[in-house]
């Protein structure tokens, strides 16, 4: 059952097109995360769902009702802002009660809703404080409480953790995950540029880039089967290595050859017409292993070694000084800078992308 659906939604500011033909179905109870680099239109899309920005094309439906022209307060949504957006002159209680007071709800109803939200978020001791007397994490909880009190069909979060310090961010992220668990019926849309938040919270991730949806899928699906080079490099840290290669044999499995002598046979199907075409071979840094055999992917001199104990990260620079390849090996390896090393990876861990950047899985 779809509780929120976007059909060909567009947004332009004057002649500047910010979002193009966004199509997305969100089921009830999902926690959808919009992720993407800064400026890709995540906030804009969220604010269009909230009704804070006009929708310049397409249809937005919530519970199968067209919402394009419904005022924000009647869409059945609640939003949590990055800057908390608490009313500074009101106590925590009044902050949470404001919406219900505007809607002329009865005193007992308001008190019950606030008591419930305060219990869920452990805000009871702070109800009569002003926001300025709270810490950042507590303020964000009040902002979430204000959303809960509205009992919305859809919760919208716009980078709710990015104003918190690192430790608090982790704690609040776990709180949000628990909150979602305690409200399995509610739908949440969560915007972030942080892939860790996206991977840990999402039931499905929507990767946005330059106003388009690049891929929609469960977090591990995106990790294991990225649809294109953008998603491949955006999800995962360090980013996936992309090596230029040429197809030497097409068929059930595809054999590729790298310019510097590396080769691989990838269990991904390709057509006969692909033979000889240039592709990009993708391999995640953590999938690379050291090998002695002649069946290697890369053979190069190590430029930088970062020994973290838990892992050892090797950097291989290209001629222009960028990190051309990164390998992340588990455990401790005593490798000196400048050593020539051969790396390989299990064939099923390899990815192939055509010259347009699309994965061979999705062709």
């Amino acid at each position: 059952m779809s509780s929120l659906s976007l059909k060909d939604v567009c947004k332009s500011y004057g002649s500047v097109e910010v979002l193009r033909d966004i199509n997305l179905e969100i089921d009830q109870g999902e926690l959808i995360v919009f992720v993407g680099p800064s400026g890709c239109g995540k906030s804009t899309l969220l604010r269009m769902i909230a009704g804070l920005e006009t929708i310049t094309g397409g249809t937005l439906e919530i519970d199968h009702e067209r919402m394009n022209d419904v005022p924000p307060a009647q869409r059945g949504i609640a939003m949590v802002f990055q800057t908390y957006a608490l009313y500074p002159h009101m106590t925590v209680r009044d902050n949470m009660a404001f919406g219900m007071k505007i809607a002329k709800k009865s005193r007992s109803e308001i008190d019950a809703a606030i008591a419930n939200a305060a219990r869920i978020l452990q805000l009871e001791p702070y109800l009569d404080r002003l926001p300025k007397a709270l810490s950042g994490g507590q303020r964000q909880r009040v902002a979430i409480g204000r959303a809960i009190v509205r009992n919305p069909k859809v919760f919208l979060f716009d980078e709710p953790l990015s104003n918190l310090d690192a430790a608090l961010r982790v704690a609040t992220r776990i709180e949000i995950a628990q909150l979602k668990e305690s409200m399995p019926e509610s739908t949440m849309v969560y915007v972030t540029h942080d892939q860790v938040e996206a991977m840990t919270l999402a039931s499905r991730i929507v990767v946005l880039h330059g106003g388009n949806i690049e891929q929609v899928g469960a977090p591990l699906d995106l990790y294991e089967r990225p649809a294109n080079t953008f998603v491949a490099q955006f999800i995962g840290s360090p980013a996936m290595n992309l090596l230029d290669a040429k197809i030497t044999a097409a068929g059930e499995t595809t054999s590729v050859q790298m310019p510097d002598g590396g080769r691989a046979t990838v269990p991904i199907a390709s057509q006969g017409s692909d033979a000889g075409s240039s592709v990009r071979l993708g391999v995640r840094p953590e999938d690379l292993t050291i090998t002695e055999s002649d069946e290697f992917l890369v053979s190069a001199d190590v430029d930088i070694v970062e020994a973290l104990g838990e892992t050892t990260v090797l950097y291989f620079m290209s001629k222009n000084g960028e990190a051309a390849l990164i390998a992340k090996l588990p455990g401790i390896h005593k490798i000196a800078k400048g050593t020539n090393i051969r790396l390989t990876a299990a064939p099923e861990k390899l990815h192939l992308f055509d010259d347009k950047g699309t994965s061979f899985f999705y062709r």
Binding site: F81, Y87, F98, G99, A103, D128, R150
Partner: protein, 412 residues
């Protein structure tokens, strides 16, 4: 000598004198008094740095003491002496004499009226203008027009409004705008609407506003809100505010009937500035016209400082524009509103030029500052004149202290 040349010389002497003073005094401190060499170099540098701030403050402190501190003390002394007894000390005689003069009480009463109406109206109009001009494309042009009166001197503004209030004999064309409008009323339904119902409505609105103020002032006394700690003086202050509000309600309730029943002389031009009681309001309009620009500029900056997200959150909470304005925006800029209000209050308490230029305190428009001028420079009675000056200062002082207190709180 050519006055322009004199001006240039004054500037050179003034600025050069300042630079010379700061340079030479610091040189003296560092080279002669506490030289940064020899046995006690560390101690000398520390001492020089302790004295240095006072070198910079000295000119300001000296000028303030000479031109503000000394006059205050001298005025206080003069207010206890009598001119006809060769300046003998007469205690509170001058104050007693002043208190027995009806003109003094007229000035007091008028000042109180000014004090309530001008800051309230200026702030309200300023806030309205700030909010509305922010929402339209040509808002900045409108703002400059509203701000322009600030650039006109009080006397200049008085001359403009004297023309607006001007009266010509009945058989001539009226050049005063107000009389021209007045002559359009002839006693029909339009006159009833604009001259009876509308003023009565305004008075009733004012009474309701005061009732709300009363409620706001007294509410926390009955329902102690935890967390929002109040100072010890907040209780008497709230009681006083409540009392003033109740008094205002009583006054407006009384005047509603007189407004509705008033008799008007339709068709004959009025000499507005000689109508007792009303003429004070015609004078106030001048100051409101000037101060609205000031209030608008400050409040507009404050409105822009409100975080956009709080307004968006209120939109999502379902608040309409009025609720957003009164329950989200205004409370957030309350500190600034108070500062604007008290700043205008200070201007009002000292108001002199407008009254002096337009009525000179005749026809029951006297105010304290003009009363003081009358006594001091026309009657040459320095005793009573100084006494009234002291009265003005005593009235201004608490508001000034409060204003500074609020302004500092706003800044931190």
């Amino acid at each position: 000598m050519n006055p322009a040349l004199q001006g240039v010389i004054t500037i050179i002497v003034g600025v050069g004198g300042c630079i010379g003073y700061f340079y030479l005094s610091n040189q003296f401190l560092d080279k002669v008094l506490f030289p940064a060499r020899g046995k006690h170099i560390g101690r000398n540098i520390n001492r020089a740095n302790m004295i240095r701030p006072w070198l910079f403050l000295f000119p300001a402190i000296f000028a303030l003491a000479l031109y503000l501190g000394y006059p205050v003390i001298e005025t206080l002394r003069l207010s206890f002496t009598d001119r006809s007894l060769d300046g003998a000390f007469v205690g509170f005689d001058n104050y007693a004499q002043m208190a027995s003069e009806p003109k003094f009480w007229e000035a007091m009463r008028n000042n109180m009226l000014w004090l309530i109406i001008v800051p309230a109206m200026s702030t309200a109009f300023g806030l309205l203008a700030a909010q509305l001009t922010d929402r339209i494309a040509w808002g900045n042009v409108a703002k400059s027009f509203i701000f322009m009166p600030m650039a006109i001197s009080f006397v200049g503004a008085s001359v403009i409004f004297k023309l607006i209030y001007d009266t010509r004999p009945a058989n001539q064309d009226q050049i005063g705008v107000l009389n021209a409008i007045w002559l359009m009323f002839e006693g029909g339904p339009g006159s009833y609407l604009f001259l009876r119902l509308l003023p009565a409505g305004i008075v009733i609105c004012f009474a309701l506003l005061m009732a709300y103020v009363l409620y706001l002032a007294l509410k926390p006394l009955f329902r102690r809100e935890a967390g929002a700690g109040g100072s010890w003086w907040s209780v008497p202050l709230r009681l006083f505010a409540g009392f003033v509000a109740a008094w205002m309600i009583w006054l407006s309730a009384k005047s509603v009937f007189s407004v509705l029943a008033a008799e008007f002389a339709y068709g004959s031009p009025q000499t507005w500035l000689t109508l007792p009681f009303w003429n004070s309001f015609f004078l106030m309009v001048v100051l409101i016209w000037i101060q609205t620009g000031f209030a608008m500029v400050i409040l507009s900056a404050a409105l822009r400082g409100i975080p956009e997200e709080t307004i968006e959150a209120a939109i999502l909470d379902g608040a309409n524009p009025f609720q957003i304005f009164f329950r989200i925006k205004v409370p957030q800029i309350m500190g600034t509103i108070v500062v604007v209000w008290t700043t205008i209050t200070l201007v009002v308490l000292k108001v002199f030029d407008i009254v002096f230029a337009m009525t000179n305190g005749q026809w029951e428009t006297q105010v304290l500052a003009n009363y003081m001028y009358d006594k001091l420079f026309r009657a040459n009675d320095w005793g009573v004149g100084s006494a009234s000056a002291i009265v003005i200062m005593v009235l201004v002082l608490p508001i000034l202290v409060w204003n500074v207190y609020n302004a500092r709180k706003e800044m931190s």
